[in-house]
């Protein structure tokens, strides 16, 4: 009877499945930041081509999501590497330790610039200062000794030298590591540079932490739009709003220079050179984190990490630099760190 036969074959299938499941995993599994993702893809592809190990599997999802998966525990059904566009936070390291992930190797692969770009045919947004961005984005700004809701609606309200266009900025959503860098290196820096920080401290009686929080509170009246998706979504918004200004990663901009024009920040144009030298103010380091307990268990894990930070890959003129990564001047130390499997110090 065919029904019985089907049932039997399903039983066989299930049995075979259980047997196969008992075998070890033989490829490296990575998850995390969507900023690091293209670099990790390039390295994984070349790694699979050049070595006998299987090509690592790279998932995206954001720095925080990746680190959360990473800290779930040790074992073959947890990931081996988390990509992150910001350093791991102490509380994340503590969660990791609570779940048995004690020994973590931190690997810095290089730097990434954050650029401010708009439509090529749009208003002439060619030069910005952090202070201008603070005044455009803050929820409340100090005025005559008290905090008032941000009255600026046009870029010319902030500075007459800016183009006459409505303020409309597409900034990364809060789940992105890029948002943190944007708030700290642009908004907070602008808040301090414009003198607003001092005024806020006068108003609130000298509470510095509260003043910083007040500086970094972003307006929610529609002038600042959070983008929770990827840069492709920001690009699509820019293409349909000629007045819009978007926040992008340097590598994304470099792949779309025919559609976007970039603005200088503090008088410096973003490029791999100005970011490496530290002249361009808005940049951040990129990392990945390795579970030391998995080295020797998952084949190719250490080799993948070593290959990633190899001079031929992450160094000057390598494929990652071609794609927009700013090479780390201290790459040799990172290579040594991977070689020695140096773990992160205990947070406490």
């Amino acid at each position: 009877m065919s029904f019985v036969r089907t049932t039997a074959s399903v039983a066989i299938l299930a049995a075979a499945a259980t047997a196969a499941g008992a075998q070890g995993r033989d490829q490296v599994q990575v998850a995390g930041s969507s900023t690091v993702l293209p670099y990790a893809n390039i390295v994984a592809e070349a790694f699979g081509e050049s070595y006998d190990f299987p090509t690592p599997v790279i998932q995206s999802g954001g720095s925080s999501a990746g680190l959360k998966l990473f800290c779930e525990g040790v074992g073959e059904n947890t990931i081996d590497i988390a990509n992150a566009s910001r350093p791991m936070r102490p509380e994340e390291q503590k969660t990791c330790a609570d779940n048995g992930v004690n020994e973590i190797i931190e690997v810095r692969i290089g730097y990434d610039g954050i650029v401010f770009a708009s439509q090529t045919d749009g208003p002439a947004f060619t030069a910005f200062e952090p202070a201008q961005w603070y005044k455009a984005m803050a929820a409340e700004i100090p005025q005559d000794g008290e905090m008032v809701a941000n009255p600026n609606t046009n870029w010319t309200d902030i500075d007459p030298s800016l183009p006459d266009a409505e303020i409309l900025a597409f900034i990364p959503g809060t789940k992105h590591g890029t948002r943190e860098v944007f708030e700290e290196k642009v908004i907070l820096a602008g808040c301090e540079a414009s003198g607003a920080m001092e005024q806020i401290m006068e108003i609130n009686g000298g509470d510095e932490d509260a003043a910083e929080d007040a500086c970094m509170a972003i307006r929610d009246d529609g002038a600042a739009v959070d983008i929770d998706g990827d840069y492709t979504e920001t690009l699509a918004r820019i293409e349909s709003n000629s007045d819009g200004v978007g926040v992008f990663g340097l590598s994304f901009y470099e792949n779309n220079t025919d559609k976007l024009k970039v603005a200088t920040m503090g008088g410096v144009a973003p490029s791999t050179e100005t970011i490496a030298s530290g002249e361009y103010p808005v940049s951040r380091p990129l990392y990945f984190y390795i579970k030391k307990a998995h080295i020797g268990v998952i084949p190719g894990l250490k080799e993948y990490a070593a290959f990633f930070v190899n001079d031929q890959v992450a160094g000057q003129g390598g494929p990652l630099a071609d794609y927009g990564l700013v090479p780390d001047p201290e790459l040799a130390q990172t290579q040594q760190k991977v070689e020695d499997e140096t773990t992160m110090p205990d947070p406490s």
Partner: protein, 451 residues
Amino acid sequence: MTDMPDDRGAGRSAATSTASIMRPDARTKSRNAAEKRFRAYGLGAIVIGILALVFLLASILYRGLPAFTQTYISIDVALPAETLDPEGNRDPAEMAKVITFGYAGLVDDAMQSALEARGIEVEGLNDPGVLISKQAPAQIRDWVLSNPEAVGGTERFDFLATSRIDQYYKGAVTMESAARDSQISPEQLQLADILKDEGMLTRKFNWSFVTAPDASDQRPEAAGLGVAILGSAYMMLIVLGLALPIGVAASIYLEEFAPTNRWTDIIEVNISNLAAVPSIVFGILGLAIFINFGGLPQSAPIVGGLVLTLMTLPTIIISTRASLKSVPPSIRDAALGVGASKMQAVFHHVLPLAGPGILTGTIIGLAQALGETAPLLLIGMVAFVTEYPDAPPEGFFDPATALPVQVYNWTQRADPAFAERASGAIIVLLVFLAIMNITAIVLRRKFERRW
């Protein structure tokens, strides 16, 4: 409504003066007009539907069809022994130590010498090697490692052209956009035109779009759907292997054997409810049960298959029960009357007659599962996977992606060439869906019996 009697009275008086069925009175006219209006609304609704479909298909085909052809550059590459085989003993194991990036220089050299040999000069041209895909070094390395004796000679290769050149011939890149573009310069496009005249650059049908694995952001021209198609096929096998027997067994029991009481009522209501549960809920369930609790690997078709099985089961059960119900009771009664047991009556008579209906329901359920994305996002199927999974059953546990997920993945990549490939992937997905739905219709037409 209150003036109805008056109205009717007026109609009657009109009828007495000009009584003729040949000449419609006012009320008949208004009824006929209402009917005409209703027909026009219906026709309008259908026209809007068809227009939307045509617009959708046309835009997908317009954007996606170019992905099926690709520009290739054919060029002679010198394979110098000193860089490819520093030890000099032509041992593939030794030669494998030269990694892919070590081959990158060969492509640039090959391009330079090809230009010199043909006397091609373009003013202001730099870096002519950019025209060739970054996939090329890997292609040379693979070939050299399987033909180590060829080192030291020259070999002709067909390389993919870089995506910007390819897009130039598809109309997406122009001389103006190239002037602003950091990836390509107008001079390089001029060179491409010269190569085309020389016959070195050709546009061919691109099978590798369907067969090759995904590629990184640096070589969009090499990205293909191979892993995604395999992953989707594996998941469909699992769904078919699990959902069909479970679904059919459950429906036969509920329809033919189960007593009608409060419990079966509750089960019935729950099955209908399950069919309406948003699919992402099944993804959360799959993550919690199969991966975190069951210890199954991430990104594996087995987990995707199990999740989609849960999602498809209600569809299959509902359609199977409907087709069992449509078998007339006289068939059961006849079988039981000549002494068949209940089970014999079901399996020998009712089930074969309900078969076409069950198959149709299953295929439609499978088609629904094939296009499902949301639950797969949560179980790690949105991943960069460049290695084909093994043959089943081991392959069920290897990482893979799925067709709809690959579309989602490609729309998020930075390089504009991926947008075209995403539309191409949608075409492939639609073709599979169309094949499945047509099979379902043909089966139904062929085997359906009416009583």
